[in-house]
């Protein structure tokens, strides 16, 4: 285990715990809040790995934009106690037995596959934004352009669907 870096250890425990809480809550907002905590913990992990840019992006975009979107939608949907009760009904033991087994097997597989070859050395470097920028606009320029097109597509479709929603509600 990672006795070498206590920050990493603590952050990973928080991440796992809060993710477990996310998937077992009945109230949507609670789950979202736990998810935010999980994302923050992962941002810390990124920082310990020497990826400050990734950590910043995690917080700004993932926790800051995507989660806000979620919260807006939840508020629009106006979920109340009745919904929470329904959620808890849906979360019966039959429904999480199968997935739990499957997920457990998956974890076992991944761990076995990932850790089988023994320890790998670490670089221990910090890769800052400037390095990323040089890579991004150098060899990965095409990927960057494609990503921007993807975002454009997402924007257009979200706008279009939003108009349909708006029209329906009138």
């Amino acid at each position: 285990m990672s006795g070498l870096n206590p920050l990493f250890t603590v952050a990973s425990i928080i991440a796992v715990a809060s993710t477990a809480m996310v998937i077992t809550r009945t109230v949507a907002v609670h789950a979202l809040l736990y998810l935010v905590v999980s994302l923050l913990a992962i941002a810390v992990i990124f920082a310990t790995l020497g990826a400050p840019f990734a950590a910043a992006l995690e917080i700004i975009i993932y926790a800051g934009a995507i989660m806000i979107l979620f919260i807006f939608v939840v508020m629009m949907l106006n979920l109340d106690r009745g919904d929470a009760a329904r959620e808890s009904r849906w979360l019966s033991p039959q429904s999480w037995a199968g997935p739990a087994i499957l997920a457990g097997l998956m974890v076992a597989e991944l761990i076995y596959g990932g850790l089988r070859d023994g320890g790998i050395g670490q670089a221990g470097l910090v890769v800052g934004p400037s390095a990323i920028g040089r890579e991004l606009y150098g060899p990965y320029i095409l990927a960057a352009e494609l990503a921007s097109m993807l975002l454009l597509a997402g924007l257009v479709s979200a706008y279009h669907l939003g108009r349909a929603i708006g029209a329906r509600q009138e």
Binding site: M1, L4, N5, F8, A15, V16, T19, I23, L32, L35, S38, I45, A47, T48, L49, G50, A51, A54, I61, Y62, L69, F70, V73, V74, L77, D83, E87, W90, L91, S95, W96, P99, A100, L102, A103, M106, V107, L110, G114, L115, I120, Q122, A123, L125, V126, V127, A131, I132, E135, L136, Y140, A143, L150, L151, G154, L155, S157, I165, R168, Q169
Partner: protein
């Protein structure tokens, strides 16, 4: 931030964490019937994948891992906006968030 990278993290631990998080996300996807929760679980899975990429990039000290993470992030953003719009549209059509009711392609 440089001081935080004092002792390096072995890659196995990152992979282990990633595996656990991915499994949790998968379990959540399969367990929950509410479409919002399913989307949340998908986010968890995407996040776990990004973590794996960053860890791998950090192991070699290259920027490629973080760039891949950037791409995953933009993917998640696009996906979530469209997905949420669709959920709202479906909600307007049929006032339910139950994913199991969408079985019109049955048989």
């Amino acid at each position: 931030m440089a001081s935080m990278a004092g002792t390096s993290v072995p890659l196995q631990d990152v992979i282990l964490l990633c595996a656990v998080l991915f499994a949790l996300g998968l379990a959540g996807l399969l367990m929950r019937r509410n479409m919002l929760f399913m989307l949340m679980s998908i986010e968890i899975m995407l996040n776990a994948t990004g973590l794996a990429f960053v860890g791998a990039g950090a192991r070699w000290g290259q920027a490629d891992g973080q760039i891949m993470f950037l791409l995953v992030l933009s993917l998640a953003a696009a996906e979530i906006s469209v997905g949420l719009a669709l959920i709202l549209l479906l909600q307007a059509r049929r006032p339910t968030l139950d994913a199991d009711t969408g079985n019109g392609l049955k048989g």
